[in-house]
């Protein structure tokens, strides 16, 4: 337990942030361990950007405490910015500088910077080395921003919606880059409202809804804790597509001990059945051993982070 606490690089405790009468963060608490990718997941307007901006000292908390690497970001700016790099959501660069000029500029701000040439090759910007920032594609700009975030050799990278506005190929490319940073030992804190991004990148995440953390854990833990229901889908061939046949099939399944949410949808040459259950293995066994069913085309659809997110959001 002591070790786990000592390994924490970020401690946020009962953080509140208000703009006038509007309370954006309502007492959130979380921690981040060294070397992990931690995600703040939430819908638009949940307070993710405010949380990250307060975390990195761009905004002062209304109440509560934020400690990063033992520093108070809003107070210890110089020491903090040497060790923590940030890619804000609404970030921009000098549009008329080239990629190399931009990296050399940002490298000059840090005491132990990386070589801009190595950043250019690591982030796949060789072809754009002499290109002015305003002529870069969205994906190239994001990669350059990540390159800038990594050029000071930071211990922690904070990325606010890093793949916002990118096409699927550019997003995957960006995810590879972020995963490489994790492999190199950096702690990454990111915000996102995209479930696939959170599932792929995050070791742990907190779901932020209307300024409150409604759930926290690894994606697997969250799915296990918050959404136990899976769907077993299969096909019953050679059944009539009439409503009576569907009712007969449902009754047949109930007699076999399969209860709960059973839906039967008539198709051209049979019935498509879906059973919502907390015990998909048991349902599969019962179907397989029920004589006369002749079920085919089995599929088990497990809950996703999106289901958890929707459940948590609806319940908040």
């Amino acid at each position: 337990m002591m070790g786990a606490t000592a390994d924490r690089v970020v401690e946020v405790d009962r953080l509140r942030k208000s703009y006038g009468d509007h309370e954006v963060l309502r007492g959130i608490s979380f921690h981040v361990r060294r070397g992990e990718v931690f995600g703040l997941l939430g819908p638009n307007g949940a307070g993710k950007t405010t949380a990250l901006e307060t975390l990195v000292g761009l905004r002062r908390p209304t109440s509560g405490t934020v400690e990063v690497l033992g520093l108070v970001p809003a107070r210890d700016r110089r020491a903090f910015t040497e060790r923590v790099s940030v890619q804000p959501q609404a970030a921009a660069l000098f549009p008329t500088l080239t990629v190399f000029e931009t990296l050399r500029l940002f490298a000059s701000f840090y005491s132990g910077p990386r070589d801009p040439e190595s950043v250019i090759s690591e982030f796949g910007l060789e072809a754009a080395r002499r290109t002015r920032v305003k002529h870069l594609s969205g994906g190239q700009q994001r990669r350059l921003l990540l390159g800038i975030a990594s050029i000071g050799n930071p211990e922690i990278l904070v990325l606010d919606e890093p793949s916002a506005g990118l096409d699927p190929a550019s997003r995957r490319n960006l995810w590879d880059v972020i995963e490489r940073q994790r492999e190199l030992g950096a702690t990454v804190i990111l915000s996102t409202h995209q479930m696939d991004e959170a599932t792929r990148l995050c070791d742990r995440l907190a779901i932020l809804v209307a300024g409150r953390i409604e759930a926290e854990g690894s994606p697997e833990e969250l799915i296990r804790e918050h959404s136990r229901v899976s769907t077993v889908a299969f096909f019953l061939p050679e059944r009539s597509s009439s409503g009576d046949a569907a009712a007969v099939a449902v009754a047949e399944l109930e007699r076999a001990g399969i209860t709960g949410g059973i839906t039967a949808s008539p198709e051209r040459d049979g019935l498509r059945i879906a059973v919502e259950t907390e015990d998909p293995d048991g349902v599969l066994r019962r179907i397989a051993f029920t004589p006369g069913l002749h079920a085919t085309g089995f599929r088990v659809i497990r809950s996703s982070l999106e289901d958890v997110f929707l459940e948590v959001s609806d319940g908040a």
Binding site: R78, P88, T96, L105, Y110, I148
Partner: protein, 257 residues
């Protein structure tokens, strides 16, 4: 890398980047050209036309150097300083730099040199026009104090640009100000309308404006007339206003909206 060496590298790189931004930004260049070179060229052109018509130059350029200086300096202070700063804040560039170890003072310090070079060049051109070669006596008598007035006026109006750019969040608001302030300054400083035309209380009010300290002093020096304020007092006021506006700009400067 040592701290002072790193600070030197950051200063050099940031100053270079700021200069590149200014030189490679066509909008800023247009603002500078319109504010000074085009205005100057216009007066020279009209002066030459009138010289052809009347057989001698009416001295239009020399008579309007105060106006040209005011517009040129304001173009640098507003169009090439305040507007880009606020636009960079709106775009998120300042927010990005605000997350690095670069401090506000260093950022502003590196923003100024490119603008200062342009202003000094403008002062040089104005001084050449005010004290033409050949008029040796006039040069020896007026060039130094006239140059000091020009430099102080330029520094003061650059500082005004930094003060406006320190905190404003919307680029459309600062653009409106960049159009409005020169017009107000033209009317209120004596550059377009002599201050003697205004009623007494209004004239006293206008004399309290920093733009008036500069234009009225410069015009009086050119005309070898008595300035509305003693020369030393006008210089002291301009220097104080410059320092105050710089200090306020550094104090009020915000990285993000």
């Amino acid at each position: 890398m040592g701290r002072s060496r790193r600070a030197g590298a950051a200063l050099r790189e940031l100053a270079l980047a700021q200069a590149r931004m200014l030189l490679r930004d066509p909008r800023a260049f247009v603002a500078l050209l319109l504010g000074f070179a085009v205005l100057l060229a216009m007066f020279i052109g009209v002066d030459m036309l009138l010289a052809v018509s009347f057989g001698a130059s009416p001295g239009l350029v020399r008579g309007n150097l105060g106006l040209i200086a005011l517009m040129g300096f304001l173009a640098v202070g507003l169009g090439a300083t305040a507007v880009p700063l606020v636009t960079q804040r709106e775009d998120g560039l300042l927010r990005q730099i605000g997350t690095t170890p670069v401090g506000r003072g260093v950022f502003l310090l590196t923003h100024a040199p490119a603008r200062a070079v342009i202003l000094v060049a403008e002062c040089g051109v104005l001084l050449m026009l005010a004290t033409p070669p050949g008029a040796v006596d006039a040069v020896s008598v007026t060039a130094a104090p006239l140059g000091l007035t020009l430099l102080l006026g330029a520094a003061m109006l650059l500082a005004l640009g930094y003060l406006l750019g320190a905190r404003l969040a919307r680029s459309d608001a600062v653009r409106h100000l960049a159009y409005l302030i020169p017009m107000l300054a033209l009317v209120s400083s004596g550059a377009l309308l002599p201050l003697e035309l205004f009623p007494g209380p209004v004239r006293i009010l206008l004399l309290a404006l920093p733009t008036t300290w500069f234009v009225a002093t410069f015009d009086a020096q050119l005309a070898e007339a008595d300035p509305p304020l003693p020369l030393g007092a006008a210089w002291a006021l301009m220097a104080a206003a410059t320092v105050l506006m710089w200090a306020a700009a550094a104090k009020l400067f915000r990285w993000h909206r």
